[in-house]
Symmetry: C2
């Protein structure tokens, strides 16, 4: 891809969860730090725009300080003199018809936008209450982002794409903000989800769809199977799932041979649960699109707090009948934590934005033992671990473990 | 004042109380309607800037829909191509040192501001919580207003003026956001309130001070007497007091001969209590300043819901011993309300923005009578009155009346 004038450069991110654990004295600022890193990558890489897959905010009603952080960062990084090189071809008043200012921010003559950000809402920041507004409406109305993909009916969804052109490359961007999975699943089955396509030159558009739904099959109907997706789509950006799959293959995206489309699951930029999925190192995507070709690169986030988890089966290391079983169990776990802390130090990115206190989780199978005090245990690691109170998770045997470790609070 | 190029035109408003009674089905939008009228007057009159005296929001944590209204109106009315003709001379990074973006919005090259709005905070929207932020910080950080007058110390206040120049006219604008009256009173007594003055050309500045405190003497120390104010000031804009005094004299301002300064009390743009002070018709001020001269005009707000109050002493109209005393009292009050409704219709501004249902309050002295049901009474006026449930206020005799009718919720 050498023709820069016809190549879109798009930063792909999702699930930034601003305000997550904001009142925690240690972790309170983590989400803001990650967001700032993402914005600084966007600026450094001179992307054409940022595409975000929902859950920008953790709380439906973010605190004032979290909202303020968000306003400040967007104004700092997304406003400026850098020209925007792509054209907006579709009808803004239709694309943003749910907004008080049904316009794209970078074409407002009163705003000097350098990096437009486009976002759908997630389940954490979905519209509610009077006016059916969400936090993204505040950002859109203030001109700091472009909020799209808000379905206005609960029964039928008709998605018109945002049409963008840069040189010879044309992107049709479809968005659908979070809808309860069961409801959307049913709508798909009833063929009540329609994706409109540009009439002219239909084969030459690169079709991107961003959504925020369960991808993992929790039960038969509370996820969206990929086979529901239209096969004219070229690339799906899947928000809500927090596991970063931007490393899943050389292509950084997953090929669905039946639907003939690629799926990119950027994952979250902060761990909102201590689970395996969140342990996968966090990345954002750098998507380049040239005509119908694309390339996805992954860019590691260097400021995200480290997370290490390990499973421990006590009876493999301590004799259950031992007179000092409890002390020995505890000592064994301490050694494990020390090893993880050493690993964390070793794997620290070196960025001064990355905290020095990692998140640590030991999942301890204590079958045939009495549990020790996880609170007292944590006191050994105050100052060194970000979550001293929640380091130890006891369980009796595999079958009893929480059913789905991979999926925490998405 | 003919020299337009040296004449500042400033719209003076205060106590807009956005979000007041927002969940009331009848009155819920009143505050937003008034704000829009104020902004449209500012645009129509082509003022240089808007100066607001605090309590822009009614709630410390405004609802999302109220915040959203505010963002939308400010973006609609205050952004645009109209040039700003006055210069900002003082050090922005000092004037706005409490803000994340310590800059005045109209000089930000990324924002096309046509009407800068300057506001201090009131007691309703004062800074609290993490980061000591208030709603005005959100507006300032998004570039929609200029939030000034935030004192950073609780013991001493040192106010540097914002220095503005238009042609040959130079304004020194001092602001002090709401502080608990007792505390500020004490600080004044201890000479801990300092107002800095520009060193050069000191006599040629027109000195304006905007504050948001009790002006009426509630008790010895919970108000700010005018004699505390420095006599170099030319004009004081006094927020917090809801009674509009912009009609008080031909000059629309009140001369304090001892302090040798003028006081302008713009009042609120919405009645937040059914009191005499709020009954005075609502106006905003149009202040013109040319060198050391000024002229204040008052502009009536045509969209504000009408408020009528009347005192009724039952025993003057109905014989206390009468067998039908209650019915007769009620009938008499109905007549009174009908008369007020007729007056309201007669005095309606004709603006389609002004609601047709006025606020009505009868203060009924029912000495020697049993009260009738004010709820049942109100049912006669549902649809015609904005506050059917709170129309009647019973009291036994003057001495028993709520001590201070003039002062409701400011
Ligand atoms: Mn989610
Ligand atoms: Mn999420
Ligand atoms: Mn007040
Ligand atoms: Mn007030």
């Amino acid at each position: 891809m050498v023709d820069e004038n016809s190549t879109f450069k798009i930063l792909i991110a999702s699930d930034i969860h601003l305000g997550y654990m904001e009142s925690d004295p240690i972790r309170g600022n983590d989400s803001v730090v990650s967001f700032e890193e993402i914005l600084s990558i966007a600026r450094e890489r001179e992307v054409d725009f940022i595409l975000h897959g929902g859950d920008l905010f953790h709380e439906n009603k973010p605190s004032r300080v979290t909202l303020h952080h968000c306003f400040a960062l967007l104004r700092k990084y997304c406003m400026g003199d850098k020209p925007v090189y792509f054209e907006f071809l579709s009808d803004q008043s239709a694309d943003f018809k749910h907004c008080k200012f049904p316009t794209v921010n970078y074409e407002d003559p009163n705003l000097n936008v350098s990096i437009p950000m486009f976002s759908i809402h997630g389940n954490h920041d979905d519209p509610t209450g009077p006016g059916n507004l969400c936090s993204l409406d505040l950002l859109h109305t203030s001109g700091l982002i472009n909020y799209f993909g808000k379905a206005t009916s609960l029964d039928k969804v008709q998605i018109s794409p945002i049409l963008l052109q840069k040189g010879e490359t044309k992107i049709a961007l479809y968005g659908l903000g979070s809808i309860r999975d069961e409801r959307l699943h049913r709508m798909f089955l009833k063929k009540d989800v329609k994706m409109l396509r540009p009439k002219e030159d239909q084969e030459n558009w690169f079709n991107i769809f961003v959504l925020h739904q369960n991808r993992a099959k929790h039960s038969a109907t509370n996820h969206i199977p990929e086979q529901f997706l239209e096969d004219f789509l070229d690339l799906v950006i899947w928000g809500h799932e927090h596991e970063c799959r931007l490393n899943s293959s050389a292509e950084k995206v997953e090929w669905n041979p039946i639907q003939q489309l690629y799926v990119c699951q950027p994952g979250s930029s902060i761990a909102t649960s201590l689970s395996e999925g969140e342990m996968v190192p966090k990345h954002v995507g750098l998507l380049e699109v040239n005509k119908k070709d694309f390339r996805m690169q992954s860019i590691p986030l260097k400021s995200v707090r480290q997370l290490y988890m390990e499973d421990v089966v006590l009876k493999k290391h301590v004799r259950p009948g031992d007179a000092n079983a409890q002390r020995k169990s505890e000592d064994f776990c301490k050694e494990k934590v020390e090893a993880l802390l050493a690993r964390a130090e070793n794997e620290h990115t070196g960025s001064n934005k990355q905290p020095r206190q990692p998140l640590i989780r030991l999942r301890v199978d204590y079958t045939d033992f009495d549990p020790f005090s996880s609170q007292r245990f944590g006191q050994n690691f105050v100052e060194r671990v970000a979550n001293p109170k929640t380091m130890i998770q006891f369980h009796r045997q595999k079958a009893e473990r929480a059913s789905d470790y991979k999926h925490g609070q998405l």
